[in-house]
Symmetry: C2
Subunit: 239 residues, 2 copies
Amino acid sequence: MKISIVGKGNVGSHLYNAFKEKFDTTLIDSRNPQNLNPSDIAIVCVKDDAIKEVVQNLKGKARIIAHTSGSLPMEILNSYSTDYGVFYPLQTFTKNVDLCYHNIPFFIEGNNQHTVEVLRELANAISGKVKECSSEERKKLHLSAVFACNFSNALFTVAHKLLDSADISFDMLLPLIKQTVDKLDKLSPEAAQTGPAVRNDSFIISRHLEMLQNEPKLAEIYRLITELIRDNSRNPVIK
Amino acid sequence: MKISIVGKGNVGSHLYNAFKEKFDTTLIDSRNPQNLNPSDIAIVCVKDDAIKEVVQNLKGKARIIAHTSGSLPMEILNSYSTDYGVFYPLQTFTKNVDLCYHNIPFFIEGNNQHTVEVLRELANAISGKVKECSSEERKKLHLSAVFACNFSNALFTVAHKLLDSADISFDMLLPLIKQTVDKLDKLSPEAAQTGPAVRNDSFIISRHLEMLQNEPKLAEIYRLITELIRDNSRNPVIK
């Protein structure tokens, strides 16, 4: 199978590295797709708002065209190829940070059975976690990743600033953050919840809100997440 | 040195295990402190609102009395002993979940130099990360831990519910969550921030808010944390 990876950014570079020893793989600059020889599949690894322009130039050069976006529907590709799909790796890619691809979940979608099978073969070649998933489901998956990863990182930034003001290094908090995540191997996040909100410790909660009185946005985030934890502990998800 | 650990909950049990091979240590039921023989130090490991009642019964039985609360000032102990302090381990303790004590940061505070030195000796015996810290600083530390750990766990719960509605297992998100935290070994959370908010992708953000239109609390949390990320990327902390 001949694969073209289109786009030399973080996702493209990582996918190229993962594929190059297993398939006849070429990495293509998305701004110079004229170098593209005919291939069985082109996997487009560019920013969401650049996808349409890039796939325009791929017409007729690849049997299957797939994008790698978490949030865009498969159907945005329907006028560029008869076979099209999505090849979405659920991971945050940073150049020069090595990843164990085998643990990265891949979510695939195709407009026909053949496309799904090709995408599944590619994903299975590098990952142990491959799942077919509709565009609607993928949107929810992407939103869940924003909450769990982008937004929790924003809370780590809040913690960093609070610690700076007490002259304590952020590193001191890392063992606790790691333990919070390690617990999820054994417990659901609902069962793992600790802290003043879940034990309904109104005294501590009001002292914390006092400390945030000059930071109205942080105070509001504190109030809302505290309510959310209280709501969840009253209506737990039964698994 | 004779140590009494008062309170058989999660913190007390873990501290007892950590100390018992290095010091003459006794674990005492906080409801039956009459079993307490005179000791050099009593470390009180009970809930914040039970501390005063418990230390009342310790008067005269220990040279030093220390509590383990993240949020209560040291001075709540000032009428129960001439030597008093705080011995605060920054970790989430779960019974039957083993911990590597050496990596747990301990924050200590004493009302005089002798007390600080005893607390430092105890903390150094089990941990490689010991720091003296005032009650004011400890309050900020505790608040930062609530944001970084309790609240990020609440966001994992949000993700869990969203994934349930797409019939995707929460386990699929764990590699991404772990990578989000592993990045903090090398990058500050500000530098590690990814996602639609930091790249100012208004199209995705408005689609996400649409998906949350029946969940007003989640939509408001989404809006506020997105604003926070945008504010931070405009005013980064220079380290």
